[in-house]
């Protein structure tokens, strides 16, 4: 439990630093939030009205004052108003967080299952054509940007083959969210996100399984005449999984970026895609809250990985960390 407290104590200054840096960047950016807010009407709005809106938002105040005001409101649970969506920030996040968790959750499961299976398979059939195909694809994928994979998937499965919808949450003509409709729209974003995040996992699993297969106790198990499958699943995979859990936590930032890109390519109405819109619209109340959320996700991911590690590996517990 001590480790948790340590982590939390460390997280607070980190969150402060990240949000303050964001405010400083906002201040330094050449973009005018009022112009973005007015949109098409920026041209036909009297300069004195623009100045009034600026004052209403406190944009004419010094940076430190803007930041402390925001922080004070945050501590009282007030996240402010999103300027681009004209709604309270808390409501925007509340409405959208679920959709993001759905995509990311599904993608994580798909990625774990598929990555483990493909990695183990490649290790087991080492140096075969299958292994080469799997690892080759993984390396290529690691080099390919997520949005490009997403666009490619749209082109193949929606435009050319017409099997799956190209984006959105439901069909255009539907007036309610139904499960089959939602499921069809989930397939591509989930598959692309899972696929784009699974390369490192697959390669890691492959390497560690190969390493374990060489170890004495596995060779011993084989010599005792155990079935190859039992050896692989019971012995090799189990010890290969331990370091994997920690790495998983360290990969959360990648997952966050991946989710942002996938959501905007597939016009998925989640919080991640909203980040891009908030940035483009210079919607700082919303962007600040979303940055905070992403940072919390990364910190929490690392923390969970550490905890899972202590659960999974008895040796760590013996060392008296928990």
């Amino acid at each position: 439990m001590r480790i948790v407290l340590w982590r939390l104590a460390f997280a607070v200054p980190l969150l402060l630093a990240v949000t303050f840096a964001m405010f400083a960047l906002a201040k330094a950016s050449p973009f005018d939030p009022v112009r973005q807010y007015l949109g098409e009407r920026a041209m036909v709005t009297d300069p004195w009205i623009t100045a009034e809106i600026r004052a209403n938002w406190g944009l004419d105040r010094p940076l430190l004052e803007q930041y402390t005001t925001w922080l004070g409101n945050l501590l009282t649970g007030d996240l402010g108003e999103s300027r681009s969506l004209r709604l309270p920030v808390a409501q925007v996040i509340g409405e959208r967080l679920g959709w993001t968790l759905l995509v990311v959750g599904c993608a994580l499961v798909v990625m774990l299952v598929a990555g483990l299976a493909a990695g183990t398979l490649a290790a087991w059939r080492r140096d075969s054509w299958l292994d080469r195909l799997v690892t080759g694809t993984a390396f290529t994928n690691e080099a390919a940007p997520v949005f490009w994979v997403g666009l490619l998937a749209i082109w193949v499965f929606s435009v050319t083959l017409g099997w799956l919808p190209a984006g959105g949450l439901t069909d255009a003509a539907s007036t309610t969210v139904t499960l089959p409709d939602l499921a069809r729209h989930l397939v591509l974003p989930v598959a692309v996100l899972a696929f784009s995040q699974s390369s490192w996992l697959l390669l890691f699993v492959r390497e560690s399984v190969i390493g374990v297969l060489r170890e004495d106790f596995v060779t011993g198990a084989r010599a005792r005449g155990l079935r190859p499958r039992t050896v692989l699943l019971r012995h090799a995979l189990r010890s290969a999984l331990l370091p994997f859990v920690t790495i998983m936590g360290a990969r959360v930032p990648e997952l966050v970026t991946g989710a942002i890109l996938v959501e905007s390519v597939f016009s998925w109405p989640g919080v991640a895609g909203t980040t891009i819109k908030a940035a483009l619209a210079v919607d700082f109340p919303l962007l600040a809250a979303l940055t905070l959320l992403a940072t919390v996700a990364v910190v929490a991911g690392n923390l969970l990985a550490d905890l899972a590690y202590t659960v999974a590996d008895p040796r760590v517990r013996v060392l008296g960390v928990s």
Binding site: Y37, G39, D46, E52, N56, V109, G167, S174
Partner: protein, 516 residues
């Protein structure tokens, strides 16, 4: 052990959350005759009229005191009749028996509240400036609304197309109006769903369910239209080509008041010279701009008030083809002589200026390139600068800029701010610092006179003076292009505004009926 099972439980939960039923209907449901899906480009930020949603009518959920017919005539909507506009007091009598979607009856208090919310600085309403002439709106009794103005303001009736919301309603809450459609749901970034209002006071629309689907990307919208997802959509001229000879779809080209032109900084040496501006007006090939850049969907422009509207002055005109001989003669007469490098010079000053355009706007970029190459032909060197708006802001008084404006509703709209000296150098209003006492007087008279015939004369003169002074170089009026699937009656195009907020032609969906 307990922790391990918790982890396991979480994974099971996650898996079950993702398991989907194995069979579902395949393919998109075709839109039935009482459901229409409109594919639109830009999603509104808010659905509240107070925050600028669809203020010029064509709003599907709200009614204003007045509304516009497709040919831009005003009709009473929530008002019983069109009131007399004279002086600084305008009184409306409200229609009886109108209820909001939530069942509350409409009273004068709702109208007064709506306008008070627009004028309240705390709401940061983007449209507040449009209502600056209003001192306050009062409701002496349930059926009467009185507008008190700061000065006589003829366009006030045009402004009362603003949708009315219920008294004391929350402006960031769900939209409630009196209009032909009621709000069902809004998936932000995706679509808005509306249902017919069965208690509507006017004629109920034939289309019972309406989906407004938003896709920013033009190509994506064209693809979704081709795939049969949309009943109708708006597309740029170049993207409608593929639909022209298709079975079952019609392409509509609708004229608009939306012009593009060059704003000249009049206090600079080169662009401040009338001869240079006149010569450019003669030398640009507007016909080629329409055919090549707009794919034919446009018209040459010679002034700020669109042909096809009542206020257009037909005497202000020009030729679509360039007249280089006259342009050159104009320059020669004014003392601009060709220099060694082919660029004209007068008193040691080279005929050279910078023309800015917003870098992200490909249409304006192509127009800027066309202007520069046409100017080169007569010895004027135009340097191009593609910038973002924040950079353009800083240079408005020094460099020329490709700008777009235009409203078909009232000649006072934007033109007062663009040409009145009081607005010189006020942001994008009159950035060229045009100062002409006679035009100032005319604009003030046009705003303060209620009589339509007298106003028509005033604005004819304004158009003539602006043309004589070559304040701007007007290039083209855009046409808006739409693709509609199926046979409908009631699609009546009218001259459209610069903003696409109401979807222009698609905003007439309330009148669409399936053709037999």
């Amino acid at each position: 052990m307990r922790r391990r099972s918790a982890l396991f439980g979480a994974i099971v939960l996650m898996l079950s959350a993702c398991s989907a039923p194995s069979q579902g209907p395949s393919g998109a449901p075709a839109a039935t005759r009482d459901t229409a899906v409109l594919g639109l480009g830009s999603e509104p930020d808010s659905l509240n009229p107070v925050l600028g949603y669809s203020v010029d009518g064509g709003s599907l959920m709200y009614d204003g005191l007045v509304r516009r017919t497709p040919d831009l005539k005003l009709q009473p909507a929530l008002a019983e009749s069109l009131p007399e506009v004279e002086g600084t007091e305008v009184t409306f009598r409200l229609r009886q028996g109108v209820t909001f979607h939530d069942g509350r009856p409409l009273t004068g208090a709702d109208v007064a509240y709506t306008y008070a919310q627009v004028l309240d600085p705390a709401n940061n309403s983007p449209i507040r400036g449009d209502y600056a002439a209003i001192e306050k709106v009062e409701s002496p009794d349930a059926r009467t609304v009185v507008f008190r103005l700061k000065h006589p303001y003829a366009p006030i009736l045009q402004r009362t197309t603003l949708g009315i919301i219920p008294d004391k309603s929350d402006i960031s809450g769900n939209p409630v109006g009196t209009g032909p459609y009621t709000f069902v749901s809004w998936a932000k970034g995706d679509k808005i769903t509306l249902r017919v209002n069965d208690r509507y006071w006017g004629e109920r629309p034939a289309i019972r369910n309406l989906v407004l689907a938003y896709t920013t990307d033009d190509n994506a919208r064209a693809t979704r239209m081709a795939a049969g997802e949309f009943t109708a959509t708006e597309l740029p001229p170049k993207a409608v080509a593929r639909f022209r000879n298709q079975q079952g779809v019609t392409v509509h080209e609708v004229p608009s008041a939306d012009y593009r032109g060059v704003m000249f900084p009049l206090e600079r040496p080169v662009t401040g010279d009338l001869a240079i501006r006149e010569a450019l007006g003669l030398a640009v090939d507007r016909g080629a701009m329409v055919s090549a850049i707009l794919a034919g969907a446009g018209e040459p422009a010679y002034g700020p008030i669109a042909p096809g509207t009542d206020w257009h002055n037909p005497a202000v005109t020009g030729s679509a083809a360039p007249d280089r001989a006259r342009a050159t003669a104009t320059l020669e007469k004014a003392g601009w002589k060709t220099g060694a490098d082919g660029i004209r010079v007068k008193d040691g000053t080279a005929a050279r200026f910078t023309l800015m355009y917003p870098a992200g706007d490909s249409l304006r970029k192509e127009l800027a390139l066309a202007v520069a190459s046409d100017a080169k032909q007569i010895g004027i060197d135009v340097r191009l600068a593609g910038l973002d708006w924040d950079a353009i802001d800083q240079r408005l008084s020094q460099d020329a800029l490709i700008m777009g404006w235009g409203s078909p509703y009232d000649p006072d709209y934007t033109n007062f701010e663009l040409f009145h000296s009081a607005y010189a150098g006020q942001g994008y209003f009159n950035p060229g610092h045009y100062r002409n006492p006679e035009v100032d007087r005319l604009l003030e008279r046009g705003r303060g006179t209620a009589d339509a015939a007298a106003r028509k004369q005033v604005y004819d003169q304004v158009q003539q003076r602006i043309s004589d002074d070559a304040v701007w170089l007007y290039l083209v009026y855009l046409k808006h292009t739409y693709v509609v699937r199926g046979n409908w009656s009631g699609l009546t195009p009218g001259v459209e505004a610069h903003e696409h907020a109401t979807g222009g032609l698609l905003g007439t969906v309330v009148n669409w009926k399936p053709a037999p």
